[in-house]
Amino acid sequence: MPDVHIDYPEVQVAASVGTMDTDDTPWSDDVFVIPVCIPLSAAGEWLAAYDPASSTSPAAATGRIIARAVLDALKRAAEAPDG
Protein backbone atom coordinates (compact mmCIF):
# COMPACT_ATOMS: atom_id res chain seq x y z
CA MET A 1 0.00 0.00 0.00
CA PRO A 2 1.31 3.52 -0.78
CA ASP A 3 2.35 5.74 2.08
CA VAL A 4 1.20 9.22 3.12
CA HIS A 5 2.17 11.63 5.92
CA ILE A 6 0.69 14.68 7.63
CA ASP A 7 2.92 17.66 8.44
CA TYR A 8 1.17 18.08 11.77
CA PRO A 9 3.11 21.07 13.19
CA GLU A 10 1.87 22.96 10.11
CA VAL A 11 -1.78 22.21 10.88
CA GLN A 12 -3.68 25.44 11.36
CA VAL A 13 -6.99 25.70 13.19
CA ALA A 14 -9.83 27.99 12.14
CA ALA A 15 -7.78 29.99 9.66
CA SER A 16 -9.48 32.00 6.97
CA VAL A 17 -8.03 31.00 3.63
CA GLY A 18 -8.60 32.30 0.14
CA THR A 19 -6.93 30.36 -2.65
CA MET A 20 -7.42 28.28 -5.79
CA ASP A 21 -8.65 24.68 -5.95
CA THR A 22 -6.91 21.96 -7.99
CA ASP A 23 -9.05 22.92 -11.00
CA ASP A 24 -8.12 26.60 -10.51
CA THR A 25 -11.53 27.49 -9.09
CA PRO A 26 -11.13 30.26 -6.49
CA TRP A 27 -12.56 29.55 -3.05
CA SER A 28 -12.41 31.03 0.42
CA ASP A 29 -13.56 29.67 3.77
CA ASP A 30 -12.74 29.29 7.46
CA VAL A 31 -10.86 26.01 7.63
CA PHE A 32 -8.52 23.57 9.28
CA VAL A 33 -5.34 23.62 7.20
CA ILE A 34 -3.97 20.04 7.06
CA PRO A 35 -0.89 19.57 4.85
CA VAL A 36 -0.89 16.13 3.21
CA CYS A 37 2.59 14.94 2.21
CA ILE A 38 2.98 12.15 -0.35
CA PRO A 39 6.52 10.75 -0.57
CA LEU A 40 8.01 11.06 -4.03
CA SER A 41 8.72 7.35 -3.86
CA ALA A 42 5.01 6.65 -3.38
CA ALA A 43 3.60 9.06 -5.97
CA GLY A 44 3.69 6.52 -8.79
CA GLU A 45 1.82 3.96 -6.75
CA TRP A 46 -0.83 6.50 -5.77
CA LEU A 47 -1.32 7.65 -9.35
CA ALA A 48 -1.53 4.07 -10.60
CA ALA A 49 -4.24 3.39 -8.05
CA TYR A 50 -6.42 6.31 -9.21
CA ASP A 51 -8.52 6.66 -12.36
CA PRO A 52 -10.31 10.03 -12.28
CA ALA A 53 -12.73 8.79 -14.94
CA SER A 54 -13.99 6.02 -12.67
CA SER A 55 -16.38 6.94 -9.87
CA THR A 56 -15.24 3.88 -7.89
CA SER A 57 -11.56 4.82 -7.98
CA PRO A 58 -9.49 4.57 -5.89
CA ALA A 59 -10.35 1.34 -4.17
CA ALA A 60 -11.82 1.88 -0.73
CA ALA A 61 -8.89 0.32 1.06
CA THR A 62 -6.45 2.55 -0.81
CA GLY A 63 -8.44 5.74 -0.38
CA ARG A 64 -8.87 4.98 3.29
CA ILE A 65 -5.12 5.46 3.83
CA ILE A 66 -5.35 9.15 2.96
CA ALA A 67 -8.75 9.54 4.57
CA ARG A 68 -7.60 8.15 7.90
CA ALA A 69 -4.41 10.23 7.90
CA VAL A 70 -6.36 13.42 7.26
CA LEU A 71 -9.11 12.54 9.73
CA ASP A 72 -6.62 11.62 12.46
CA ALA A 73 -5.05 15.06 12.06
CA LEU A 74 -8.46 16.75 12.02
CA LYS A 75 -9.53 14.89 15.13
CA ARG A 76 -6.36 15.80 17.01
CA ALA A 77 -6.55 19.45 15.93
CA ALA A 78 -10.26 19.74 16.68
CA GLU A 79 -9.87 18.22 20.13
CA ALA A 80 -6.73 20.16 21.07
CA PRO A 81 -7.26 22.46 24.07
CA ASP A 82 -6.77 25.58 21.95
CA GLY A 83 -8.23 24.06 18.79
Binding site: G18, M20, P26, S28
Partner: protein, 258 residues
Protein backbone atom coordinates in the same frame (compact mmCIF):
# COMPACT_ATOMS: atom_id res chain seq x y z
CA UNK B 1 3.85 38.10 27.47
CA UNK B 2 6.13 39.82 25.01
CA UNK B 3 7.26 43.37 25.59
CA UNK B 4 5.19 45.98 23.77
CA UNK B 5 6.66 46.63 20.36
CA UNK B 6 8.04 50.03 19.42
CA UNK B 7 6.20 52.20 16.94
CA UNK B 8 7.81 55.42 15.76
CA UNK B 9 6.05 58.69 16.42
CA UNK B 10 7.11 60.19 13.13
CA UNK B 11 6.22 58.79 9.68
CA UNK B 12 9.80 59.24 8.57
CA UNK B 13 11.49 58.26 11.80
CA UNK B 14 14.01 55.48 11.28
CA UNK B 15 13.58 54.52 14.91
CA UNK B 16 16.34 53.99 17.43
CA UNK B 17 19.56 55.94 17.59
CA UNK B 18 22.26 56.39 15.02
CA UNK B 19 24.65 53.49 14.55
CA UNK B 20 28.34 54.09 15.20
CA UNK B 21 29.13 54.03 11.49
CA UNK B 22 26.12 56.14 10.49
CA UNK B 23 22.77 54.93 9.22
CA UNK B 24 20.03 53.19 11.12
CA UNK B 25 20.30 51.34 14.38
CA UNK B 26 19.43 47.79 13.37
CA UNK B 27 18.61 46.88 16.95
CA UNK B 28 15.66 49.29 17.01
CA UNK B 29 14.62 49.90 13.44
CA UNK B 30 11.39 51.82 13.15
CA UNK B 31 8.74 51.98 10.45
CA UNK B 32 7.58 54.40 7.78
CA UNK B 33 3.93 55.35 8.24
CA UNK B 34 1.68 55.11 5.19
CA UNK B 35 -0.07 58.32 4.15
CA UNK B 36 -2.13 57.68 1.02
CA UNK B 37 -2.24 61.41 0.30
CA UNK B 38 1.54 61.78 0.22
CA UNK B 39 3.60 60.42 -2.66
CA UNK B 40 1.25 57.70 -3.87
CA UNK B 41 -0.44 57.45 -7.27
CA UNK B 42 -3.96 56.03 -7.31
CA UNK B 43 -4.95 53.44 -9.88
CA UNK B 44 -8.72 52.84 -9.75
CA UNK B 45 -9.80 50.76 -12.77
CA UNK B 46 -13.55 51.06 -12.11
CA UNK B 47 -13.72 54.48 -10.44
CA UNK B 48 -14.72 53.24 -6.99
CA UNK B 49 -12.90 55.85 -4.93
CA UNK B 50 -14.79 59.00 -4.02
CA UNK B 51 -12.31 60.64 -1.63
CA UNK B 52 -9.02 59.82 0.10
CA UNK B 53 -7.92 61.57 3.28
CA UNK B 54 -5.31 61.21 5.98
CA UNK B 55 -6.10 62.80 9.33
CA UNK B 56 -3.95 62.12 12.39
CA UNK B 57 -2.23 59.35 10.41
CA UNK B 58 -5.49 57.50 9.77
CA UNK B 59 -6.08 56.80 6.09
CA UNK B 60 -9.74 57.03 5.09
CA UNK B 61 -11.03 55.90 1.72
CA UNK B 62 -14.65 56.74 0.91
CA UNK B 63 -16.26 54.85 -1.93
CA UNK B 64 -18.82 55.32 -4.64
CA UNK B 65 -21.42 52.57 -5.02
CA UNK B 66 -20.50 49.04 -6.03
CA UNK B 67 -23.95 47.60 -6.54
CA UNK B 68 -22.84 44.25 -7.94
CA UNK B 69 -20.09 42.66 -5.89
CA UNK B 70 -17.33 40.60 -7.44
CA UNK B 71 -14.20 38.85 -6.25
CA UNK B 72 -12.46 41.01 -8.86
CA UNK B 73 -12.33 43.61 -6.06
CA UNK B 74 -10.84 41.21 -3.53
CA UNK B 75 -7.06 40.95 -3.58
CA UNK B 76 -6.96 37.39 -2.34
CA UNK B 77 -9.89 35.80 -4.13
CA UNK B 78 -8.98 34.95 -7.69
CA UNK B 79 -6.86 36.12 -10.58
CA UNK B 80 -8.53 39.47 -11.37
CA UNK B 81 -7.44 42.49 -9.30
CA UNK B 82 -9.59 45.52 -10.06
CA UNK B 83 -9.75 47.11 -6.62
CA UNK B 84 -8.33 50.60 -6.10
CA UNK B 85 -4.66 50.71 -5.16
CA UNK B 86 -2.15 53.43 -4.26
CA UNK B 87 1.34 52.84 -5.63
CA UNK B 88 4.78 54.35 -5.07
CA UNK B 89 8.35 53.25 -5.64
CA UNK B 90 9.63 50.72 -3.12
CA UNK B 91 12.79 52.19 -1.64
CA UNK B 92 15.09 51.83 1.34
CA UNK B 93 17.36 54.55 2.73
CA UNK B 94 21.10 54.09 2.57
CA UNK B 95 23.47 55.10 5.37
CA UNK B 96 23.18 58.74 4.38
CA UNK B 97 19.39 58.66 4.28
CA UNK B 98 19.19 58.73 0.48
CA UNK B 99 16.38 56.51 -0.78
CA UNK B 100 17.55 53.62 -2.94
CA UNK B 101 15.25 51.90 -5.43
CA UNK B 102 14.62 48.23 -4.70
CA UNK B 103 14.68 45.95 -7.74
CA UNK B 104 13.07 42.59 -8.35
CA UNK B 105 16.38 40.71 -8.24
CA UNK B 106 17.41 42.11 -4.86
CA UNK B 107 17.44 40.20 -1.60
CA UNK B 108 15.11 42.13 0.68
CA UNK B 109 12.29 41.90 3.15
CA UNK B 110 9.19 44.03 3.40
CA UNK B 111 7.98 44.31 6.98
CA UNK B 112 4.48 45.68 7.49
CA UNK B 113 2.29 46.63 10.42
CA UNK B 114 -1.43 47.17 9.82
CA UNK B 115 -4.17 48.45 12.09
CA UNK B 116 -7.94 48.65 11.59
CA UNK B 117 -9.64 51.92 12.44
CA UNK B 118 -13.40 52.10 12.91
CA UNK B 119 -15.09 53.36 9.72
CA UNK B 120 -17.93 55.86 9.68
CA UNK B 121 -19.93 53.56 7.37
CA UNK B 122 -18.48 50.07 7.52
CA UNK B 123 -18.62 47.64 4.63
CA UNK B 124 -16.88 44.27 4.17
CA UNK B 125 -13.38 45.42 3.26
CA UNK B 126 -9.93 44.10 2.49
CA UNK B 127 -6.71 46.12 2.73
CA UNK B 128 -3.26 44.97 1.57
CA UNK B 129 0.14 46.57 2.13
CA UNK B 130 2.27 44.78 -0.41
CA UNK B 131 5.34 44.63 -2.58
CA UNK B 132 4.61 44.38 -6.31
CA UNK B 133 6.50 44.35 -9.60
CA UNK B 134 3.81 46.61 -11.08
CA UNK B 135 0.94 47.59 -8.82
CA UNK B 136 -1.23 49.01 -11.59
CA UNK B 137 -2.18 45.71 -13.23
CA UNK B 138 -5.68 44.27 -13.17
CA UNK B 139 -4.63 40.67 -12.62
CA UNK B 140 -2.38 38.83 -10.21
CA UNK B 141 0.03 37.76 -12.94
CA UNK B 142 0.90 41.38 -13.72
CA UNK B 143 1.13 42.54 -10.11
CA UNK B 144 2.99 39.63 -8.45
CA UNK B 145 2.12 41.17 -5.09
CA UNK B 146 2.36 40.02 -1.48
CA UNK B 147 2.28 41.61 1.97
CA UNK B 148 0.24 42.31 5.08
CA UNK B 149 -3.54 42.05 5.11
CA UNK B 150 -6.60 43.43 6.93
CA UNK B 151 -9.96 41.89 6.14
CA UNK B 152 -13.35 42.04 7.80
CA UNK B 153 -17.06 41.78 7.19
CA UNK B 154 -19.67 44.47 7.76
CA UNK B 155 -19.73 43.29 11.39
CA UNK B 156 -17.68 40.91 13.50
CA UNK B 157 -14.02 40.51 14.38
CA UNK B 158 -11.17 42.02 12.43
CA UNK B 159 -8.80 39.60 10.72
CA UNK B 160 -5.12 40.23 10.10
CA UNK B 161 -2.89 38.02 7.99
CA UNK B 162 -0.89 37.71 4.81
CA UNK B 163 -1.81 38.25 1.16
CA UNK B 164 0.17 36.39 -1.52
CA UNK B 165 -0.39 36.61 -5.30
CA UNK B 166 -4.09 35.67 -5.44
CA UNK B 167 -4.70 34.17 -2.01
CA UNK B 168 -4.52 34.86 1.69
CA UNK B 169 -4.29 33.36 5.14
CA UNK B 170 -5.76 35.36 8.01
CA UNK B 171 -7.05 34.95 11.54
CA UNK B 172 -9.72 36.86 13.41
CA UNK B 173 -9.90 37.55 17.13
CA UNK B 174 -11.81 40.02 19.27
CA UNK B 175 -8.49 41.22 20.72
CA UNK B 176 -6.74 41.76 17.39
CA UNK B 177 -5.10 45.19 17.52
CA UNK B 178 -2.31 45.12 14.94
CA UNK B 179 -1.05 42.66 12.37
CA UNK B 180 2.70 42.27 11.78
CA UNK B 181 3.86 40.60 8.55
CA UNK B 182 7.15 39.90 6.77
CA UNK B 183 7.56 38.84 3.14
CA UNK B 184 10.83 37.61 1.59
CA UNK B 185 12.31 38.33 -1.83
CA UNK B 186 15.55 37.07 -3.42
CA UNK B 187 16.91 36.12 -6.84
CA UNK B 188 13.93 37.55 -8.74
CA UNK B 189 11.46 35.55 -6.68
CA UNK B 190 8.86 36.49 -4.10
CA UNK B 191 8.51 33.52 -1.82
CA UNK B 192 5.87 34.50 0.73
CA UNK B 193 6.00 35.18 4.42
CA UNK B 194 4.53 34.96 7.85
CA UNK B 195 2.42 37.05 10.19
CA UNK B 196 1.73 37.49 13.89
CA UNK B 197 -1.38 39.19 15.22
CA UNK B 198 -0.93 41.33 18.33
CA UNK B 199 -3.23 42.54 21.07
CA UNK B 200 -3.24 46.12 22.34
CA UNK B 201 -0.37 45.44 24.75
CA UNK B 202 1.84 44.02 21.99
CA UNK B 203 1.39 40.40 22.99
CA UNK B 204 0.98 37.74 20.32
CA UNK B 205 -2.48 36.25 19.86
CA UNK B 206 -1.81 33.95 16.94
CA UNK B 207 -0.14 33.82 13.54
CA UNK B 208 0.33 31.98 10.29
CA UNK B 209 2.16 31.87 6.99
CA UNK B 210 1.63 31.47 3.28
CA UNK B 211 3.77 30.82 0.21
CA UNK B 212 3.61 32.98 -2.90
CA UNK B 213 6.32 31.24 -4.99
CA UNK B 214 6.26 34.03 -7.58
CA UNK B 215 9.10 33.91 -10.11
CA UNK B 216 9.48 37.43 -11.47
CA UNK B 217 10.07 37.98 -15.18
CA UNK B 218 13.47 39.53 -14.54
CA UNK B 219 15.66 40.87 -11.77
CA UNK B 220 15.84 44.48 -12.94
CA UNK B 221 12.27 45.71 -12.48
CA UNK B 222 11.81 48.60 -10.06
CA UNK B 223 9.66 47.26 -7.22
CA UNK B 224 6.59 49.11 -5.99
CA UNK B 225 4.81 49.54 -2.69
CA UNK B 226 1.12 48.85 -3.29
CA UNK B 227 -1.64 49.76 -0.84
CA UNK B 228 -4.83 48.11 -2.04
CA UNK B 229 -8.30 48.69 -0.62
CA UNK B 230 -11.09 46.47 -1.89
CA UNK B 231 -13.87 44.17 -0.80
CA UNK B 232 -13.83 41.08 1.37
CA UNK B 233 -14.86 38.45 -1.17
CA UNK B 234 -17.68 39.65 -3.41
CA UNK B 235 -19.16 42.18 -0.99
CA UNK B 236 -21.07 45.18 -2.30
CA UNK B 237 -20.46 48.82 -1.35
CA UNK B 238 -23.03 51.54 -0.73
CA UNK B 239 -22.04 55.03 -1.82
CA UNK B 240 -20.44 56.73 1.17
CA UNK B 241 -19.11 53.54 2.76
CA UNK B 242 -15.53 53.87 3.91
CA UNK B 243 -12.48 51.94 5.09
CA UNK B 244 -10.07 53.42 7.62
CA UNK B 245 -6.70 52.09 8.67
CA UNK B 246 -3.18 52.88 9.73
CA UNK B 247 -0.24 51.09 8.15
CA UNK B 248 3.53 51.09 8.48
CA UNK B 249 6.28 49.44 6.49
CA UNK B 250 10.02 49.00 6.40
CA UNK B 251 12.12 47.61 3.58
CA UNK B 252 15.53 46.13 4.35
CA UNK B 253 17.81 45.15 1.46
CA UNK B 254 20.75 42.84 2.01
CA UNK B 255 24.07 42.29 0.25
CA UNK B 256 24.59 38.57 -0.10
CA UNK B 257 27.98 37.20 1.03
CA UNK B 258 30.51 37.04 -1.79
Amino acid sequence: MASPIFYPASPTDMGGGAAAGGGADLSALGFVEVDLTDGFTLTDPDNLVDTTTNVANVNKVTFTALAVGSTDYSWGSGNNQRAPRWVKSLTAPDGDGAEQQIQSGDTFILQTVVQFETPDNRYAAEVVVASSVDGTGTDCFTNDAMGGLIRYNASGNIQYGIFTFNGYNSLGNASNDRGVCTVLHSGARGQGGAYINLDSSGGAITGGSRNASMDYTDGTTDMKLMIGVGTNGSATITAGDDAQFRAWYRVVRFSLPS
